[in-house]
Symmetry: C2
Subunit: 251 residues, 2 copies
DNA sequence: AAACACCGTTCTCTATTCGTGAACAAACTA
DNA sequence: TAGTTTGTTCACGAATAGAGAACGGTGTTT
């Protein structure tokens, strides 16, 4: 029945606390956030430290994430063949559009940018790689969500939504309609939705099992992207189609 | 007395198995390597999966490292101010030497390259970042080891040594003498030691508490580096001295 | 300078849980 | 089709995780 090891889960949660915290944390602080006794947290920390997942600052006695996580993180990227496969296409899109190009994948109920190349323009829009965000919050993510099974979509949209700008979605109904439109068109153009003054074009990449493997998005300041929208859209669609064919997708 | 949580340690060891394995592993294989029952490993995996540390390939039923490790790994780099601090100096060294420049730190009994910039030459020597290696095996690492307390050095050299090339150290005595020389000179020039035909210059960076914060090394093919050795050595020493002063080191 | 407050760490103890080993169904292999 | 191997589930007894109080050190306040 019990298929989860509570102390292991506590260890994982402890590590993840550092994602949204300053670099160093103390035992007391962690015990509050984890709702565990100080003694238990201390045992967790010494265990994680002995494996290199946590490091203790000898002066402040506080704790930080350890280098083993850096090793494991780079191994994740190395394992991820879609990144290697996509880099040439992403770079080609950059050279043809001169705007930010990102590669987005789904992980469970979240989306993550696993690769990006920045625009060469001095004024440019950029994003943070390797951080999770909701599947409904950016074009690149919505394009992934649009091709998931209905039950999965319902599950995602059942949770309370976070709003980012005045143009963000306010209702799940609005998102559902949007997902419908994405399926009809095969792409999404979004303007000023999550970020004010930013326009993006996103489209899905399919693999041989007819599932979405990832998505690509070209994003930039609206005043530069809008005039070039037709060209950018054509480039993005050509690219994802070429990539899908390479992956063995039969439309 | 028992200050370690065994299941947490098992979880950590499970994750680290993936560092030296192909990208996907099965329950049976992992249970052999961990010397744990299949049932226990399966519980570990489902727990780690629910926290995003592990992912299961739905087709092959095998397991891989999860994206949360990527998030945590990038957070480690972000926390690490020595990297940000060093980048300008590293880039300057690259522009002046045109050879590989690496930044090396110590983590427990290991060394890790936490930053590097590759040589622009078409024929070049390069290294892998973010992977652990022994503190006695490269110049950059030995320069860190040379300024550690004697007891620590003994501890490191008590373990059986790994040899890499015919020029590698064969005895701990040889390494001890080498560490002594490093302390006298304040740097190390090594030729063809770990890698055949490769010469490197490494020197330590000190901080305000008079301890080694990191080391910098310039490495390249011997036939390009040897003729320029005097210049490269001068550049490296100037750089680490400037960095140490910036960090508050009082010689 | 003394009292206080807070920190990380250690300790003991019991309810809880972890890990074993066997049995399971599903997917390959021959 | 029979045999092997896979990932998964289950029940139980031994091992341990976590609570809570106490310790010693550091830094702050009165």
């Amino acid at each position: 029945m019990d298929q989860v090891l509570s102390s292991v889960r506590n260890g994982c949660k402890l590590l993840k606390i550092f994602l949204d915290s300053p670099k160093e944390l103390g035992v007391t602080e962690l015990s509050k956030k984890l709702q565990l006794s100080k003694g238990a947290v201390h045992k967790l920390l010494t265990t994680l430290e002995s494996e290199g997942f946590i490091r203790q600052n000898e002066k402040t006695k506080q704790y930080t994430l350890g280098y083993t996580l850096l090793e494991l993180g780079t191994k994740v990227l190395k394992n991820h063949d879609i990144v290697d496969f996509s880099m040439p296409y992403i770079n080609r899109l950059l050279s043809r559009t001169s705007e930010l190009v990102v590669l987005c994948v789904r992980d469970g109920k979240d989306a993550i940018y696993v690769a990006k190349v920045d625009s060469p323009h001095p004024i440019r829009f950029t994003v943070e790689s390797f951080r999770r965000f909701p599947l409904y919050s950016t074009s690149a993510a919505r394009v992934l969500l649009a091709y998931q099974p209905d039950e999965f979509q319902e599950e995602i949209l059942a949770e309370p939504l976070k709003t980012y700008t005045e143009h963000s979605y306010t209702s799940t109904e609005e998102i559902k309609q949007n997902l419908q439109i994405i399926r009809e068109h095969g792409y999404e153009v979004s303007s000023n939705r999550r970020n004010e003054g930013v326009t993006g074009v996103a489209a899905p990449i399919f693999d041989s099992s007819d599932q979405v493997a990832a998505s690509i998005s070209v994003v930039g300041p609206s005043d530069r992207v809008q005039p070039e929208l037709d060209n950018i859209l054509r480039e993005v669609l050509e690219t994802v189609q070429e990539m899908s064919v390479q992956l063995g997708y039969r439309p």
